[in-house]
Structures are given as structure tokens and as C-alpha cells.
């Protein structure tokens, strides 16, 4: 059966320390459904869904106006198709009964046996609410990848890719970490998806950028963002929705949710400030794109850690993740691939930094880490995080690469050069973003 990060901690804390147990409304073994946990989780699920249109704006504002719709269609396309995939087989592959610690079985195919009356194991919300909430994560994850190949990928290839990727990468990795698989079993910490969501998608983005190749004119011609207010609003919506993403990952309306909410806000703010300060220092100008990108980087960084670290720890994570991502993104040209909107630079790099810092900063003394102070060494904690990240990086990279190569061979990944010049909106979608 699946195991939530929350429950995992709880499992431990029962044995080792009960100091913070009162804060957890989900703890009663009796495990009846709690109407108040349900309230917060419904709100959280809505917030996470709202992140995907936010992502559409964030990415859409950063491309040239001739590609705004095709870029937004990546996010909206995921909203249209992933809920169906999740319902049909995605959920059961992630959270069905464990098979060899690597994948879920087919018990819940078509969400069979997922009850809206029975509590999810160890939680005080129903199985269906758990499945629905998790489904929102499944939507946004493949949409994040799209930043890497914006402005040049075929829509048909994209849609095919995310269906396959969600099935063959997202569901397995989700199972490893949260669904009863081997990474969760090893106590790798991933509170809200630093590994499951951000590393997996960020690394797939790298693979995609490599396979699909550069945009015409990159990096010589400047490709300036066409509408920065879109981008800023998108970042604002992401920040807002992330409260449901991280706060909701407590899977109940409890103290951990409050903690995760607080750390999320602080990391976003610190990371936004850090990015702006760094670029102000190096480039002389504090930019809106920088502030927005920094905020997102900080949100990525805090995701694996949100319920495991103190607010002070969140500030450290925000600052470090942002600085590393800045450095990486500003150097990316020299790496020779064209990650158009820095999906790898922010989600892959930021997710990895966050995963490791989770090991460094998770609060053992407070019992947040799932280990009593001194029970395991800090080195072990960090080592586990590195292991989790590395496993996800390798798996996601290899499978993504294979998938992309196959799709490329079968239907082609990249639009033809004329379409790329004229813009994907008009040629592929038969629409213009803006008219009079």
C-alpha cells in the first residue's frame, strides 16, 4: 500500500518520540475521516490545480508573442489529459499495492476500490480525496518539462510524450518515494515532491533540450520575453498555489501543514530577494524576471523540505537554491543546449539542491526529520538524499531520453523550420495570441 511522507514520519515518531504527536490530527490509528482535514485538503487540491494555469502564464509570458499559445497549450494540455491518465492507470501505478518496491500493482485501475467514504490508510481523509489531490501533482509535473522545448516542439509529440512520461516516469518515481517503494522505504525525505516532481521533470527537461536541439538563432539572436506582466502574474499564482502544494502535503489541517505553509512563504521570499540582489550586484539591474524566477526557484528548493525544517532553515534553503540556480542559469549558454525557459536550470538544479539541503537542515531535535536527534548521523541523512536524487536523476534521464528518441523517430519532435519562424501558434494551432 502507499505511504505518505506524513505517515512515514508518524510511523517513526510512534516508536521514537511522541513529543510533537499532539499536533497531528491524523494520528489516531482508528483513523476516521476528519471533516476539517477534508476541508483543508479540498482547498489544497484546488490550489494545486490552479498552479498549472499559473505555469501557463509564467512560461507564456517568457516566450515570443508568436508562440504564446503553443506554450500555454503545454500547461493546458496537461490539464486536459493527465487527469484521465491518472484516473485510468496513473494512480494505481503510483499508489497501488507495491510490486518489488518499484511500482504499484493494478488494484486501482480505473480508480477501482478508491472510496470516498473510507479513510486512506493512516490518514483522516478519504482515499478518493488522497487520489484526487495526488492527481493534481501529476498534472503539473509534465507541464514543467515544457519549458525546455518551448517554441519548437510539435503539439502532437508533446501530448504523446507527457502521456508516456507520466506513466513511465512520474508514476514509478512517485511510487518509489511515496507509494511504498524503495526510496520511501529507505527514509529518503521528500515532503512535497522535490524529487518526485521537480527533479524528475527538471531532468526530463534536460534530456528534452538535448534531443530536440536549439531554436533557430539561439543563442545569437536575443529572444526576449514578450509579456512580463503575464510572467509576474504566473509567478504570483504559482506562489499562491504552492501553499496547497506544500501545505497540503501534510495531508491534513495540522501543525505540519502550518509549518510547511510558513517555510514555503519564507523560502519563496528569500529566494526572490536573493536572485534580485545577486543580479543587481552582477548586472546592475534588479529585474522582474529575476524576482519571479528566484521565487519559483525558492519554492522548488523548499518543496522537499517544507515540513521537515524550521523557518530559519527555509531561509537558508531559499537563499542557497536561488543563488545556485542563478549561477547555473546565467551560465547555461556555455553548456551548449537550449533549455528555453530554464526548466532544467530551475526545477532540475533547484530540486536537487533542495533535496540535498533537506538532509542538511531537517530538524532532528524537533522530531521533524522522523529521527530522534542523534539516532542517525547528519551524514546518513544527507547521503540518503543524495541517493534519492541520484536515482531519480538517472532513471528520469534515461527513460525520458528513450521516450523522446522513439517519439522523434516515429512522428518527429520538432516543428519544421518555417513553422518555427512563423510561430507555432498560427501554424500548429491555427490561432494568433493577439489581434486587434
Amino acid at each position: 500500500m502507499w505511504r505518505s511522507p506524513f505517515r512515514r514520519i508518524l510511523g517513526f515518531s510512534f516508536v521514537l518520540t511522541a513529543s510533537w504527536a499532539t499536533a497531528a490530527s491524523a494520528q489516531d490509528a482508528a483513523s476516521e475521516i476528519s471533516s476539517s482535514d477534508t476541508a483543508w485538503m479540498l482547498a489544497s487540491a484546488a490550489l494545486v490545480l490552479f498552479m498549472t494555469p499559473g505555469l501557463a502564464l509564467f512560461y507564456g509570458g517568457l516566450v515570443r508573442s508568436k508562440n504564446v499559445l503553443s506554450t500555454m497549450m503545454h500547461s493546458f494540455g496537461a490539464m486536459a489529459v493527465i487527469p484521465i491518465v491518472w484516473f485510468l492507470w496513473g494512480y494505481t501505478l503510483a499508489f497501488g499495492g507495491d510490486v518489488w518496491s518499484v511500482i504499484g500493482n493494478l488494484d486501482h485501475l480505473f480508480m477501482r476500490g478508491v472510496s470516498w467514504e473510507e479513510p486512506a490508510e493512516g490518514l483522516a481523509i478519504s482515499q478518493l480525496l488522497f487520489a484526487t489531490y495526488q492527481g493534481m501533482f501529476a498534472i503539473i509535473t509534465p507541464a514543467l518539462i515544457a519549458g525546455a522545448f518551448a517554441e519548437r516542439m510539435k503539439f502532437s509529440a508533446y501530448m504523446l510524450f507527457i502521456v508516456l512520461w507520466s506513466t513511465l516516469v512520474y508514476s514509478p518515481v512517485c511510487h518509489w518515494v511515496w507509494g511504498g517503494g524503495w526510496l520511501g522505504g529507505l527514509e529518503v525525505h521528500d515532503f512535497a515532491g522535490g524529487t518526485v516532481v521537480h527533479i524528475s521533470s527538471g531532468i526530463a527537461a534536460l534530456a528534452a533540450a538535448i534531443v530536440i536541439g536549439k531554436r533557430q538563432g539561439y543563442p545569437k539572436s536575443p529572444m526576449m520575453p514578450h509579456n512580463l506582466p503575464w510572467c509576474a502574474l504566473g509567478a504570483g499564482i504559482l506562489w499562491f498555489g504552492w501553499f496547497g502544494f506544500n501545505g497540503g502535503s501534510a495531508l491534513g489541517s495540522n501543525g505540519i501543514a502550518v509549518l510547511a505553509f510558513t517555510t514555503t512563504n519564507l523560502a519563496a521570499a528569500t529566494a526572490a530577494s536573493t536572485w534580485v540582489l545577486v543580479e543587481w550586484f552582477f548586472r546592475g539591474r534588479p529585474t522582474m524576471v529575476g524576482l519571479a524566477t528566484g521565487a519559483v526557484a525558492g519554492l522548488v528548493g523548499i518543496t522537499p523540505a517544507a515540513g521537515f525544517v524550521t523557518p530559519g532553515g527555509a531561509i537558508v534553503i531559499g537563499a542557497v537554491t536561488s543563488a545556485v540556480c542563478y549561477w547555473f542559469v546565467s551560465k547555461k549558454e556555455s553548456f551548449g543546449y537550449d533549455d528555453s525557459l530554464d526548466a532544467f536550470g530551475v526545477h532540475g538544479v533547484g530540486g536537487t539542491v533542495g533535496a540535498i539541503l533537506t538532509g542538511v537542515l531537517c530538524a532532528q531535535t524537533l522530531g521533524l526529520s522522523g529521527f530522534a536527534d542523534g539516532e542517525v548521523s547528519r551524514g546518513t541523512l544527507v547521503g540518503l538524499q543524495v541517493l534519492g536524487a541520484a536515482a531519480t536523476i538517472i532513471y528520469s534521464f534515461v527513460v525520458s531520453l528513450i521516450l523522446l528518441k522513439i517519439i522523434d523517430a516515429v512522428i518527429g519532435l520538432k516543428v519544421d523550420p518555417d513553422t518555427e519562424v512563423a510561430g507555432l501558434d498560427v501554424n500548429i494551432h491555427g490561432e494568433s495570441g493577439y489581434s486587434i
Binding site: P222, M224, P225, E279, F282, R283, R285, T287, V289, G290, T293, Y326, V329, S330, E333, D342
Partner: protein, 112 residues
Amino acid sequence: MKLITAVIRPSRLEEVRKALEELGVHGLTVTEVRGHGRQKGHTEVFRGKEYVVDLLPKIRLEIALPEEKVDQAVEGIEKASKTGDVGDGKIFVVPIEECVRIRTGERGEEAL
């Protein structure tokens, strides 16, 4: 009849229009354009990299005029749009062979 095409700074548009009004020149057509000349562009920053933007926003005016008003108008525009800094813009004068006021069908100078 002549057609004056003036490329000026956006911030001077109102001054220029006032100057023309004073000369009794009311009709004009305005286009938002971008221009490049001796004026240095500025740099924009995008995720840690700098790009030079050297097409700067300008306003392009078209004013059709009878011969005799051209000199005055050119001078008026000049004065009103001059700041003395690089990037003030240019004025071109081109001959018009025919002019029509669509509403009335008038031709020639009456049509201006």
C-alpha cells in the same frame, strides 16, 4: 504639396502638435515606430544575460502640407522636438503629386 515625415521622441509629441496647431496645421497621422541611428541603445537583462536593444521607440508623424507652409512647419517641428541630445530624430520632405479628401472628393490643396 509636400509630405513631411518626422521621426521624433515619443515624449515630444505633444509639444510638436501644439507647435503645429499654432501654425494652423491640424491634420496629421501618427505611427509608433522604432528607430536606430547614432543614439546608443540600452541593454536589457534576461536571466543573468545582457542584450543590447538598439531599436528605440520613436514617433513618426506624417503631415501633408501646401508648399508654402512647409518651411514654417519644419521649423516648428524642429524647435518643439529638439532636446539637443542624440536621438532627437529626423525630418524628411517628399513631394506629393495628388491629394484627395475622401469625405468630399476634393483634390489638391483644398483636400489637405
